[in-house]
Amino acid sequence: MNAVTAPITTLTERSLLQVRNLSMRFGGLLAVDNVHFDVHRHRIFAIIGPNGAGKTTVFNCIGGFYRPTSGQVLLDDQSIHGLPSHRIARLGLVRTFQNVRLFKNMTVVENLLISQHTQLETRFLHGLFKTPKYRRAEAEALERAAFWLEKVNLLPMANREAGNLAYGQQRRLEIARCMITQPKLLMLDEPAAGLNPQETRDLDRLINELRAEHGVAVLLIEHDMSLVMGVSDEILVMEYGRPIAAGAPEQIRNDPRVIKAYLGEE
């Protein structure tokens, strides 16, 4: 087993997310085989690899949507292995989906209010009688929603139905919906899929901005190499469920194993 570990970064601080020997087996198929990596605070970490390499399965294992067959996942040194997905989300690890999952019949603003549900635990009676406290909480939630809509350039769309937005807008809304929960780690599953080049450049800027201004670490799955190479600090390459290379973008670009996986042998 050629387990490739991410290079030890020069940073002395503890890493935010530690994935240790993660494996996921579906019957006879070993979809994820001994994956091992660290995501550090304020870093952008990308997982790339050909289709079917098991990237999304890794996401599902980390996020609690699957129960990994073996291995450990630690967030802030705390094991999140086997926790239900909503608990993991509350610990500050949220994700977007490869095929956008918005609440399509609700307005854009409402989508952002739902993701604040866990922060908005207002008492039942307060809401029933619309007490000042309740009104204030709702107003603040709307303010936060407006802030994030501004951030992702969707403010004019605030009262549209989410399902009626253009595809790129839906992708941005999904990111805003995650960010409004104030996560520690944002996991983006192919955020550039279906975007045009201009939108992809905007996404690049947005991801950098989220990291710089909101201190979030990003774990990214992406096929768009220009985005990945430009935005990532570290890259993990997977093939057939196994990690085959890891390192900084330049290293990866020149790694013969990666070139082989993507282009085939000469």
């Binding site: 996020g63 949507f65 239900p84 997905s85 909503h86 608990r87 989300a89 509350r90 949220v94 994700r95 989906f97 999952r101 918005l102 609440f103 399509k104 019949n105 609700m106 307005t107 603003v109 409402e110 209010l113 739902i114 993701s115 604040q116 549900h117 866990t118 908005l120 635990e121 207002t122 039942f124 809401g127 029933l128 619309k130 709307l142 303010e143 929603a145 407006a146 802030f147 809509l149 501004e150 403010l155 004019p156 605030a158 009262n159 919906r177 995650c178 929960t181």
Partner: protein
């Protein structure tokens, strides 16, 4: 037209062929001899009916197409927000004044209709908003009814004291059932709740010592007005009745009007609570969960508690209505809590439009008041009921008055701020 005509002829002939064995031959018994006699008339009638129906099919289709167009027309009733409270106030005032002018019988029917309105509104939260198909809803109704009957019988508590207790009891029952069951989805949930409804009914039937079994519980006291009874004579020594207190002549209608007003107040309370709930975070979460459970989980929403809250709320509404039902009837037995009641309440929700409160209210009134008004068609009640449901599913699956979501909008001010 000729094409339709020849087609109709063919279909009629086919119908004739098929109906001969069923309608065209009669069994004649003479003494010990059994003989078959051909009787062409029923066959001819059937053929004629099929022929006409086939001819009319095309024009009928055009009409249904028209129904389609009507559906697409913009909905005309869009009261501006300023008028809404006024309109609502007028409706409430009319509903309060009405029983004093109407006949005793119709007030009684209206009270029954209000019970179904309450049940429909409660189930609407579970099925319409949270998207959980509950076929055993009547169980919680029974919990409320028996809860009141037993509490008043054994502990001597009054209706108003029992009402909150019944709500709590039904909510607890709902949560107890919901907890193991709510991880199931769709059909499975429906079947398990159906079973639960039956279990409750069988328990009521068989726990003779507690519930009186099939004999039920009688002499359940009616609600009082601040301790004033509605009766000819006070039931307790030294008690005062309503008519004595106000120096009126005794009238049986007073009781009925009072019950109606209590039901109306209860319905309005439920309406208010539901309307607040669906605009509160928990209501939004119900809807979000119905739309996409995985997305909800990824955002940290706990699906179990959210579903449980919807289920528990629906159950407590049924318990609320159940306590009133027991008080109004004065007598309950398990026969009132059969599956058909669950089915009727569900039909009310489906007919009215899932998630639409006005629709549910109208459907509840229609389904309870119409059979009472049109007594002469009583035999055909279930037939018509079924037919209406089938037609609705074809032409208007979204219900009489489809739900319009209370959309929460970002106020323009907040937009301007940025």
């Amino acid at each position: 037209m000729p094409k339709h005509f020849s087609e109709a002829v063919w279909v009629a002939l086919l119908a004739g062929l098929l109906t001969v064995p069923i309608l065209g031959i009669q069994i004649q018994v003479e003494g010990i001899n059994v003989s078959l006699i051909g009787s062409p008339l029923p066959v001819l009638l059937a053929m004629a009916a099929v022929f006409v129906a086939r001819l009319l099919q095309a024009p009928l289709k055009a009409v249904s197409g028209l129904a389609h167009i009507i559906q697409r027309l913009p909905r005309p009733v869009h009261w501006s927000k300023a008028y809404r409270p006024i309109l609502l106030g007028l409706v409430i005032v009319a509903a309060v004044i009405w029983p004093f002018t109407a006949s005793r019988g119709s007030v009684d029917i209206a009270t029954l209709a209000l019970i179904y309105v309450m049940l429909g509104l409660g189930l609407n939260v579970v099925v319409g908003f949270a998207g959980l198909l509950d076929l055993g809803y009547v169980a919680f109704y029974a919990v409320g009814a028996y809860g009141y009957a037993l509490l008043s019988m054994h502990l001597g508590l009054s209706f108003w004291e029992c009402l909150p207790l019944c709500v709590i009891m039904a909510a607890i029952t709902g949560c107890l059932l919901g907890f193991p069951v709510l991880r199931l989805r769709g059909d499975y949930l429906a079947i398990v709740t159906l079973g639960f409804g039956e279990i409750i009914r069988l328990l009521l039937n068989n726990l003779d010592d507690l519930t009186g079994g099939p004999d039920g519980i009688g002499n359940i006291p009616k609600p009082t007005l601040f301790g004033l009874e509605f009766a000819r004579r006070p039931s307790t020594e030294g008690g005062t009745t309503f008519h004595q207190f106000f120096g009126l002549d005794y009238s049986g209608a007073d009781t009925i009007i009072f019950l109606y007003l209590v039901a109306l107040a209860m319905t309005l309370l439920i309406l208010y609570v539901i309307n607040r709930l669906i605009r509160m975070p928990v209501g939004r979460a119900w809807e979000a969960l119905r739309e996409d459970e995985i997305a909800c989980r990824s955002l940290g929403l706990n699906p179990t508690t959210i579903k449980l809250s919807a289920f528990g709320f629906g159950a407590s509404t049924a318990g609320f209505a159940g306590a009133f039902f027991a008080a109004r009837q004065g007598f309950i037995n398990p026969e009132s809590f059969t599956f058909i009641e669950s089915a009727i309440v569900l039909a009310i929700v489906v007919l009215g439009g899932m998630g639409s409160q006005i629709g549910v209210i109208l459907a509840a009134v229609a389904l309870t008041a119409l059979p009472e008004v049109a007594r002469q068609f009583a035999e055909y009640r279930m037939l018509i009921f079924g037919l209406v449901l089938v037609l609705m599913m074809i032409w208007r699956p979204q219900g009489l008055l489809p739900a319009t979501r209370p959309r929460l909008e970002l106020p323009a001010r907040a937009e301007a701020l940025r």
